[in-house]
């Protein structure tokens, strides 16, 4: 997934969780989470149980998600990775944080609104590497009585001052990042089972109700495992009335107009197969399909396994010779263990699991 794909993915997630997008740039998004998304992403279970018990108004968090850190660094919200050059330093002690200065200065100096596009949380930051405007503004500050210098601990002891710590957590969301993996996990938990009906619009008055056929769609993941692993996704659809089986099912079906409510004037045809039976049919289909595969990988793995076992056997048979009984017992314990490990590591196997599944009524 490149950053554009991640961006689209993230926005769809936020939308489907009813989060409020407060600001969107080409490289990041500032979003007020919905309570549900907050529960999923922020790990504040104590806070939410407090909210639920006391009934106070919940205050979900606002977060900034950055999907293009390099571009974002140019704008200045986050530190550029590995930014070199001298940052503002030698700032006189007692120099007030720029945000306070900006806030205080505006009413005193001019009532003009903040420049369009200025983001309150980034305005104070100096662009990395450049001639430091922070230092420049610092020198003009003491003249401004509206900005009293706060006596921060850092300023007092180390002569440094920081802009106020942004209360908006900023998170990089790139492929492989923790946040995206977390979202993936949440989504897999919350997008397991759906039931949808095809909606062909209002039937003409007096027309006979159209019939909806019951389909079970299952998205399977097949793992071919030895000491390495390959995976495949298969979307299968089974007509629960006729037993007709379609591959690549979801891809075709998702383009149709589907709703979660039963549309008016529709007649649901009954299912003939139970879910259990349907699952068995689908599994039988996969099994047949897998049988047709070239399983050289499994043959190779078996060969590696038998080589390993032969090596282990050879070693221990020699090593165990001429040992005392006690040593022998210890030795054969290791022997068994090493053999089991080899099986564990190399033995080829196939695991079929289900990503998610849909019940569909299609006309």
């Amino acid at each position: 997934m490149n950053s554009k794909q991640v961006e689209r993915y993230l926005l769809r997630y936020l939308e489907s969780m009813n989060c409020t997008i407060e600001e969107k740039t080409s490289s990041s998004v500032l979003v007020k989470l919905s309570p549900e998304a907050d529960k999923d992403l922020t790990g504040r279970s104590y806070y939410w149980s407090f909210v639920e018990k006391t009934g106070v108004k919940p205050e979900p968090m606002t977060m900034r998600f950055v999907f293009d850190p390099a571009a974002e660094a140019r704008i200045g919200t986050v530190a550029a990775p590995g930014a070199s050059g001298l940052p503002p330093m030698a700032v006189p002690a007692g120099f007030s944080p720029p945000a306070a200065a900006a806030g205080g200065a505006t009413p005193a100096a001019s009532p003009a609104p903040a420049p369009v596009g200025a983001r309150p949380d980034i305005a104070p930051r100096a662009p990395a590497g450049g001639e430091s405007p922070a230092t420049a503004s610092a020198s003009s500050l003491p003249a401004n009585p509206a900005a009293p210098a706060p006596d921060s601990i850092l300023g007092r002891y180390f002569g440094v001052s920081l802009p106020p710590i942004s209360r908006i957590p900023t998170d990089t969301v790139t492929f492989g990042s923790r946040r995206l993996n977390q979202i993936f996990q949440v989504v897999r938990q919350k997008g397991r089972f759906i039931r949808l009906f095809e909606d062909n619009g209002k039937p003409a008055a007096g027309a006979a109700p159209s019939s909806a056929h019951p389909w079970l769609c299952v998205n399977y993941r097949i793992d071919l495992i030895s000491d390495m692993k390959r995976e495949e996704l298969h979307s299968l659809g089974l007509h629960l009335g006729t037993g007709e089986l379609v591959e690549g099912f979801w891809e075709g079906v998702r383009k149709r107009k589907l709703t979660t409510r039963i549309p008016a004037g529709i007649h649901l045809l009954p299912a003939k197969y139970t879910l259990n039976k349907a699952a068995s049919l689908l599994e039988a289909h996969l099994e047949k399909k897998l049988k047709g595969y070239d399983h050289q990988w499994a043959e190779d793995a078996k060969e590696r396994l038998s080589e390993e076992l032969a090596r282990i056997d050879g070693f221990y048979e020699e090593a165990l010779k001429g040992l005392s009984d006690e040593e022998k017992e210890e030795g054969s314990k290791h022997y068994t263990m090493r053999r089991e490990e080899a099986e564990w590591q190399y033995a080829p196997r196939i695991v079929v699991s289900v990503v998610n599944s849909a019940l569909l009524h299609l006309t």
């Binding site: 590591q345 196997r349 599944s357």
Partner: protein, 641 residues
């Protein structure tokens, strides 16, 4: 509402290939169907499917982990190593790169790949205690792997990726818990601790159940071939044959391999050794500048006063180094700053009984301190920092000197942040961030252990010098490491006519410490029996020398001794071995190009009793310099721990 009760269905595909169908989803779907809900959102359903598509592992043998690690750019040899471990060695390997080539990165890549493929979940990482936090940090920050340091016994079971010290793990009550678990992957750093099969380390590791296994060590062979054999048997028992056939096939006598070609072939199936000389990794240079300065008369008076005091006391105490700790400290502190020595003097004064004749003498020294108005060293530092115009780390041994420097710099309008051992993790990180982002200067008392990485800075000032070369190397190692893009500038302050001048001379001229390649000192010191030995020798010399000239001569001699110790067994036999050979052997750990002595690059690694490393895999470049003396006198050192 009957639930389907089977959660998995097991079958066998033709050819005995087992196939498992997971059925746990079925019950869930049935329940929702029976109760007509709750149904999930269609959008999330689609997103879930896409997330699976995005992370799908489409091939058995292509590296997935890099697309998950956009911020990491491994070096070519690290990538090659990771791929070889994964696809040729099948996850069981000894990573034997020389120091400083990033064995941790290689291990991290392999681990990440297995985690992404879902082949590994539970991981045990055993490392020396001092490296636990560093490993945890590297895995988390560089690889996004949620590793945790083992702190409580329950964590063995609850934490999937745990980093612990081997010494902790092998002790009760931990031992039984750890042995009761199955580990998808076992990683052991500094794995040469497993070279002796009689040790508890070896026994413990052999009892662990693991699927994949990585052993990391820069010194796979230290003394004899048996060590290598043992190490490989931890990994893949029988790879070099049984005990008997190994002896017959590969060993002439303890330290001399035979059939080296075949041995190398066998080893290259389980071991990867990248070497600095293979190229591809360019370390930047170290530019060393010694800055001599002259003490003001008042400072000189204090120095002389303290030195005299220390000597007198030491002689009174019958020259017992063991009890002279405070005195040595005084002597060292006076080289650093008056503030450092002041605290110790005052404490000493308080401890002395009222009647002690020492009291007035101590007080005299305190009075001397009072008369000092300026600090020559600090002024020099100021000058340096201003001329450098870039980020600078200043190292000092003493807290009082640190405090003084911080205040001094602040008074002169320079922003400096402190860093010391006593700070907790969070504060240290904070100080690092401040230094990275806002301050020009970091004043640090602690160099090693916690492993701070400061590649973004390439100037360091040694305000005073530690007497332990390892500590000095650790200081330099903070900035001079993989990832440093600039030459590293090292400034050593030394005051004329003090011990410091001699120490600097010893470390710089004799050991050539500042210009060693990364890890060079490691190799020198690894072969010394006690790493603290040099420091102790130094103390004794300093305390016992009667004149400056005598001290200088003795230090010179000590310096020569250290060099021969690089190959300890050769040193032990120094009376017999001829000097040229020894020097040649000792130089092999230096980067030949910068060494003042005739270079014998690629000779037998110091500390190795082996005639050559030729048989190690990927070592075609190693020349076959043999040192028969060194080998012949080598005595076996068993490492019982």
């Amino acid at each position: 509402m009957r639930q389907p009760d089977t959660s998995t269905i097991q079958k066998t595909l033709g050819g005995g290939l087992p196939i498992h169908f997971e059925r746990d989803w079925l019950a869930d779907l049935q329940t929702r169907l029976d109760q007509n809900g709750p149904w999930d959102s269609t959008a999330l359903f689609q997103l879930a499917l896409e997330s699976e598509e995005a992370r799908l592992v489409k091939a058995f043998d292509s590296l997935q982990c890099l697309q998950h690690l956009p911020d990491l750019t491994p070096l070519p040899h690290q990538m090659e190593t990771a791929q070889k471990v994964l696809f040729d060695m099948r996850g069981r390997a000894i990573l034997a790169d020389e120091v400083g080539l990033g064995k941790t990165i290689e291990a991290g890549l392999v681990l990440k790949e297995y985690l992404i493929r879902g082949l590994v979940k539970k991981v045990l990482i055993l490392v020396p205690a001092s490296l636990v936090l560093q490993w945890v940090r590297e895995l988390n920050q560089k690889f996004g792997i949620s590793a945790a340091a083992q702190k409580k016994a329950y964590m063995w079971a609850t934490t999937d990726i745990i980093v612990a010290s081997l010494d902790t793990a092998k002790r009760p009550p931990h031992k039984d818990i750890v042995l009761g678990l199955d580990y998808d992957m076992l990683i052991i750093d500094e794995a040469h601790k497993l070279k002796n099969k009689k040790t508890t380390n070896y026994h413990f590791v052999n009892q662990l159940r693991r699927k994949y296994c990585l052993l990391l060590t820069a010194t796979p062979v230290q003394n004899d071939m048996e060590e290598l054999y043992n190490l490989i048997n931890v990994l893949k028992p029988g790879q070099l044959g049984g005990q008997g056939s190994f002896q017959d096939n590969y060993v002439v006598e303890k330290r001399t391999p035979k059939n080296e070609g075949r041995l190398q072939t066998e080893l290259s199936k389980v071991m990867i050794r990248n070497r600095r000389s293979d190229g591809g990794v360019d370390f930047t240079k170290r530019q060393v500048k010694n800055i001599p300065l002259t003490l003001s008369p008042e400072e000189q008076a204090l120095y002389d006063g303290v030195t005299r005091f220390v000597k007198e006391r030491y002689d009174e105490m019958g020259r017992q180094t063991a009890s002279a700790f405070t005195l040595v400290t005084l002597q060292r502190e006076v080289c650093s700053s008056r503030d450092a020595v002041f605290v110790t003097l005052v404490n000493l004064f308080k401890k002395l009984p009222e009647t002690s004749p020492m009291r007035p003498k101590v007080w005299e020294l305190v009075e001397l301190i009072r008369s000092i108005q300026a600090n020559s060293k600090a002024e020099k530092v100021m000058e340096l920092v201003q001329s450098i115009q870039d980020k600078v780390i200043i190292f000092t041994e003493y807290r009082a000197s640190q405090e003084y420097l911080l205040k001094f710099l602040k008074d002169h309008g320079l922003s400096a942040v402190p860093y010391r051992g006593g700070m907790n993790r969070g504060k240290k990180d904070w100080m690092m961030d401040l230094f990275r982002g806002r301050a020009q200067v970091l004043v640090a008392t602690e160099a090693g252990g916690e492993g701070i990485n400061l590649q973004f800075c390439h100037h360091m000032i040694n305000f005073d010098l530690p007497w332990n070369p390892m500590r000095l190397e650790q200081r330099i190692g903070r900035v001079h490491r993989l990832g440093q893009e600039h030459d590293v500038h090292i400034y050593n302050l030394s005051t004329r006519g003090t011990i410091e001048e001699h120490i600097l001379n010893l470390l710089h001229e004799k050991i050539n410490l500042f210009e060693l390649v990364i890890g060079g000192l490691d190799e020198i010191l690894e072969s010394m029996e006690q790493k603290a030995a040099l420091e102790n020798d130094l103390m004794k010399l300093v305390m016992e020398a009667d004149s400056d000239q005598e001290l200088k001569t003795k230090l010179d001699r000590l310096g020569d001794g250290v060099l021969t110790k690089e190959s300890p067994r050769a040193a032990r036999d120094s009376r017999r071995a001829d000097v040229d050979k020894r020097t040649a052997a000792s130089v092999s750990s230096h980067d030949g190009s910068r060494s003042r002595r005739p270079a014998a690059r690629g000779g037998a690694s110091p500390g190795s009793g082996l005639t050559s490393y030729r048989f190690l895999p990927d070592s075609g470049a190693v020349t076959a310099n043999t040192f028969p003396e060194a080998a012949a006198v080598a005595s076996t050192e068993e490492d019982f721990t």
